[in-house]
Symmetry: C2
Subunit: 294 residues, 2 copies
């Protein structure tokens, strides 16, 4: 289980003369999911012109496991004479000390920010209280709300059901493949927000109107739009050479839907250059929704 393998780091460069092409091995190590270590570590590394080979090692909770990893880190250092970079977040001091005694260049992603805060607040930190992305008695009811939000998104995906829209915190509108479903699911998963979504289809285009059922929820409506070129490319993946995927059809649909958004004073966002994370947080921002944490 969680056996450590090295296949992708077979090629390595012992020569550090050309710094622009430095290759470094990176470890993201955590006694939890390692999601934070990985995301933050990548954010830090992305600022350097380094080619990385990375290993994400979650649930490192025992000293035995830590010793195995230390040995791997040291082996890489002996083979390459380049210190592996290690981003870690580990609560147990026994496990932590083994990792930091390796030949890796180790940075504690959480504790680095804890020390200054300790000084500022005059309070003693208790590392054992921290369990990011964990489930505790305390957050169990919040957690149920998150699962309920996922159920809601699935039950109200793609206009499947227009019942219980009064329970939606936001209702996303847009043409097929503009990002409604991933956004609804992300809002539910990350923030526990109940999001419904409703599609406008090719058949609606002759006389595009806002359905009466939706009109009563005007204040919850949010439109998604996208460049016709990107839309055509996405649709082409689904149905090659179809009318549905043609640039002409995409242009008509987008132009009609944007006109409808403007006419009905519905906030909308062009998703072309945004990730699901960005679209979701922009919606929360624009609609002033409550941003929960899990």
């Amino acid at each position: 289980m969680a056996e450590f393998r090295l296949e992708s780091s077979a090629k390595r460069n012992n020569n550090v003369e050309s710094v622009e092409n430095v290759e470094r091995t990176v470890f993201f190590i955590s006694d939890g999911t390692a999601i934070t270590a990985e995301v933050l570590g990548h954010a830090v590394l992305s600022q350097f012109p380094i080619k990385i080979t990375s290993y994400t090692l979650p649930f490192v909770a025992s000293e035995t496991r830590a010793k195995e990893i230390k040995q791997q880190i040291n082996q890489i250092y002996q083979d390459t004479r380049i210190r592996p970079l290690v981003f870690y977040s580990i609560i147990s001091s026994g496990v932590k000390n083994i990792i930091t005694s390796s030949e890796g260049f180790c940075q504690d992603i959480v504790q680095t920010l804890v020390a200054p805060l300790q000084q500022e607040t005059g309070l003693e930190p208790k590392p054992e209280l921290n369990r990011t992305h964990g489930l505790t008695e305390k957050n169990l009811s919040q957690y149920d709300a998150r699962i309920a939000a996922i159920d809601y998104a699935l039950a109200h995906d793609d206009g499947i059901s227009l019942r219980n829209l009064d329970q939606a915190q936001v209702i996303l509108l847009g043409v097929s493949r503009c990002g409604k479903t991933p956004t609804s699911l992300y809002l539910a998963m990350q923030f526990g927000i109940q999001a419904a979504n409703y599609p406008f289809t090719a058949d609606d285009m002759d006389n595009l109107q806002l359905p009466a059922t939706l009109k009563q929820f005007q204040h919850k409506l949010f439109g998604l739009t996208i460049s016709p070129e990107r839309l055509a490319a996405i649709r082409e993946e689904r149905r090659e050479n179809s009318r549905y995927a043609s640039l002409r059809q995409c242009r008509i649909e987008i132009s009609e839907v944007e006109a409808l958004f403007r006419k009905n004073k519905i906030n909308y966002l062009n998703t072309t250059n945004y990730s699901v994370e960005e679209i979701s947080t922009k919606i929360i921002d624009m609609m002033k929704l409550n941003r929960r944490m899990f």
Copy 2:
């Protein structure tokens, strides 16, 4: 847009005598989604016995917006004589300087780790290269893979379709409400992993067998189980006082399904005390799946 409001911080304590009950106002500020600032900031703060009132302010990209926020931070300081805690990640030095010149106690969540790395690598960091959770030309095809994985999870949720299971990277098995759907969706959303899931129902229990269609994908199967008590509580929310939600029925189903997992040598995990993040990363770990980043 993104108007800053203070309703939840109405009550505030000017008295810092009892440090155990210190109340602090916290800002998570970013020129992006602020997801990393929020997650990491909470991880840091959770180690201190502080009661927090927090504001997450994403997409802070202009100096005008930064000045508004600085004013809010300073106002809180003037009202309470307690410095607000600020966790930020901002690329533009103009915007950043405005925030850090406020009365808040400001910590840059990414740059704190960049400086030591600069020394270790001898390389000059380029902050403008960093855009966590962003969409770029470079990751556009990866991004399409993520959307495809979400589509796949939806098309193969709850045994809806047993076609194309050869394209699944993992197939989750378990009884109704043990966590299959959220886990499949999270694997797709966070890691771009194509996960199908298949339910065992009450009707299957008399003579529980692994369906022939699944047997051929033995190496991709992964079981989810849960304590009967927690299962009954979750089902009770759905169908009150039903046979489906009875502790007796839950016990029978769980015991039968666990026996099937053992008999067929299927890896399985008890999800009772784990979040979706933990379940998903444990599956990746145990099944040695490729953990992509988005």
